[in-house]
């Protein structure tokens, strides 16, 4: 799980172009949207693309993403249970 968390942090930094951040700057339990990291709806779409490309997980409805993307830990949990690759 820890490996997946680290991997996700790196993938998120790349996909969202968080140029000045490293994996250590992201607390896996911190909220990604709103307060916390401060991501927005376009980032949510980027995360949906990331899940599909990297883990073969297809989300049909962006609203589903909202629940999954609360924190890196919650994404890791979802990925570990649903990944196809």
């Amino acid at each position: 799980m820890n490996e997946l968390v680290k991997e996700l942090k790196d993938e998120i930094i790349e996909a969202l172009n968080l140029e000045e951040m490293t994996a250590d700057d992201i607390d896996e339990n911190e909220p990604l949207f709103g307060e916390g990291l401060g991501l927005d709806s376009i980032d949510a779409l980027e995360l949906i693309v990331l899940l599909e490309k990297k883990y073969g997980i297809k989300l049909a409805d962006p609203a589903e993403g909202k629940k999954i993307f609360t924190s890196v830990a919650s994404i890791a949990d979802y990925v570990s249970k649903n990944r196809k690759k």
Binding site: L16, N17, E19, S41, L45, E46, I48, E52, K53, P62
Partner: protein, 592 residues
């Protein structure tokens, strides 16, 4: 001056001319169906395609099949030809008059965003090995309009507006202003947009496409269906129409343009931009909301648009809503052409005393308007037509059966001053963007977004203007770098999920709306893309706006960028290479 509409041309999924469109509207036959002509893998996505191959359109126009011409230009030419004929103009007569020295000042004002992208995406996959790079000359939106104009040879001026899904509405609006300012005798204005793999996949990556037929304003709506088509109207003064002895089909009595200044791809919850655009159109015509019998809504069918538009409609009309429908349930969302396609639909409805249905509606959405399922035998005196674009470029057109005002435009006569001018030509200068933008905001901005925002904010600061009254942008090619990355992604990965960050920055008006969002400017906001004349058109519009008294300060800019690949193509084509970035921003004022 009363602006008369004396001719209309239209080609869309529900008909290749206005008689066919009228028949489909009355019979309630939607044109949305399966993909047939666009070479795409996305057969799961319903579209409103024009059921003609490019070859068939070339045949209709008498153009050799071998001649390179974008689908956008082909559909546009068909619609312009119909509009001219409908208004009683013959190309031969106009040319004969020109020979005799009685030339008519006749302008073509078109709206498009796709431009020649349908050709570019066909050639892009083979550009390494293919020597022929002539597609380059068809790529940009301005060249698309030039191609249409060249077919007729009668136009004394040509320009192109590109504000995504409100392009055609803004083209009609600018056409009317050219007439009112006595800069043209006749204007043919409208928009044209073909489907492309580029924007079909782009919209798909934003997850706003419904996999079923769209249901605007329905509680179960799941997004929009893309469509394609073109429509143009002939605009002239009422005096000119009377002199020519032609029937006036409708009057353009009002128009409004405002920027939501909220988000690149979403509308605000309070529908501010839409509200301001509708309000401006009503005020201009000296009408009250009660005078409006029908609104042709933007109504895309996305959860966000229909919610936001409902709020804005309630803010204008209160509880006494007029009949409202979205005809995108017939045509699909024809993006840059939707403003003129729906304007022609409004005029057809007025002339034939009916209101088109909002097809597919069955479930009341919470806090939403209740659209009409169609109504016959209804007198339509005044009709509003809404068009909203990415970045919150919102416009409303108001058509009336009779003129509502004969007020002459009062020109301020004040001197126009250039308060500041900033030019950026080197990528290194872009580091300064940090003065204005946090890293979290800057991280996804392409270099053209940075150079345009930086130069604009510097120009405003030098002029001592915090928020301009209007933002007018010119660009020859728009956001080339991110568009190129999307094309590369499609070439390498096929039509998979494209990067949403790149797509949302690929429309030309992203530049101007980004500046509006940053400066909280809800004022007039348009983008010109007419090759090397883009800046001069932006300046011309700014001067008109200042003279009309619609603004006291206008931010005008011209922004372009290039890439190594694009420069190599330009070189192969024998054209001059373009700088990596080139931004010009200036603040104009009517000098008080």
């Amino acid at each position: 001056m009363n602006i008369a509409v004396t001719g209309e041309g239209i080609i869309s999924a529900i008909g290749f001319n206005k008689q066919e469109v009228l028949r489909s509207l009355i019979a309630e036959e939607s044109g949305i169906g399966r993909l047939k002509h666009l070479q795409s893998v996305h057969h799961e996505l319903p579209v409103g395609e024009v059921d003609l191959a490019n070859e068939q359109m070339k045949e209709m126009l008498g153009i050799p099949v071998s001649q390179m011409m974008s689908r956008t230009a082909l559909m546009g030419t068909i619609a312009v030809r119909q509009a001219l004929m409908d208004a009683g103009f013959s190309v031969d007569d106009i040319l004969a008059r020109k020979k005799k020295g009685e030339s008519l000042r006749i302008a073509l004002v078109s709206g498009t965003t796709v431009g020649g992208m349908d050709i570019t995406e066909l050639y892009f996959d083979h550009i390494a090995e293919d020597d022929n790079v002539s597609f380059l000359r068809h790529h940009d939106c301005g060249s698309c309009t030039n191609t249409m104009a060249d077919y007729f040879g009668i136009f004394t001026e040509v320009t192109t507006l590109s504000t995504a899904c409100s392009s055609a509405a803004n083209a009609i609006m600018f056409g009317a202003r050219l007439l009112k300012d006595h800069q043209a005798d006749i204007v043919i204005a409208g928009g044209t947009e073909s489907l492309s793999r580029f924007h079909l996949n782009g919209f798909n990556s934003l997850m706003i496409l419904d996999h079923e037929r769209c249901r605007p304003f329905d509680a179960t709506r799941g997004g929009l269906n893309l469509g394609e088509g073109a429509a143009f109207v002939v605009l002239e003064s009422e005096e000119s129409a009377n002199k020519r002895g032609v029937n006036v089909h409708a009057y353009l009595t009002g128009y409004g343009n405002a920027c939501d200044a909220y988000h690149q791809t979403a509308s605000s919850e309070d529908g501010e931009g839409a509200y301001l655009a509708m309000k401006e159109a009503l005020d201009m015509a000296h009408l009250t909301p009660k005078d409006i019998q029908y609104v042709n809504a933007h109504g895309t069918g996305t959860p966000n648009n229909d919610q936001s538009e409902s709020v804005s409609l309630r803010r204008i009309f209160g509880d006494e809503l007029p009949l409202i429908s979205s005809t995108k349930s017939f045509t699909g969302h024809t993006t840059s052409a939707s403003g003129s396609i729906e304007a022609v639909i409004c005029i057809l409805a007025m002339q034939n005393h009916f209101v088109p249905a909002n097809l597919g509606w069955a479930h009341q959405m919470e806090k939403g308007i209740t659209p009409t399922l169609g109504k016959q035998s209804v007198a339509l005196e005044n009709v509003l037509c809404n068009s909203f674009g990415f970045g919150g470029n919102n416009s409303a057109l108001l058509f009336s059966a009779h003129p509502t005002t004969t007020e002459e435009q009062v020109e301020t006569g004040k001197d126009i001053k250039v308060l500041s001018r900033v030019e950026l030509t080197s990528k290194e200068q872009l580091e300064d963007i940090r003065k204005y933008v946090k890293p979290l905001e800057a991280r996804r901005m392409g270099k053209i977004m940075k150079s345009s925002l930086l130069s604009s904010l510097e120009a405003l600061s030098q002029a001592g203007v915090e928020k301009p009254d209007a933002i007018i942008t010119g660009t020859m090619y728009g956001c080339l770098e991110y568009s190129e990355r999307l094309l590369e992604q499609m070439k390498e990965e096929g039509e998979t999920m494209l990067k949403p960050t790149y797509f949302m920055q690929s429309t030309h008006n992203t530049i101007g709306s980004n500046i509006a969002i940053k400066t909280h400017c809800h004022g007039y906001n348009v983008t010109y893309t007419q090759g090397s004349e883009s800046l001069s058109w932006a300046l011309r519009d700014a001067e008109m706006l200042l003279k009309e008294g619609k603004a006291k300060t206008v931010l005008v800019g011209c922004h372009d960028e290039s890439t190594p690949l694009f420069n190599s193509l330009l070189k192969r084509d024998g054209a001059e290479e373009q700088p990596s970035i080139h931004a010009i921003a200036m603040v104009l004022s009517c000098g008080e």
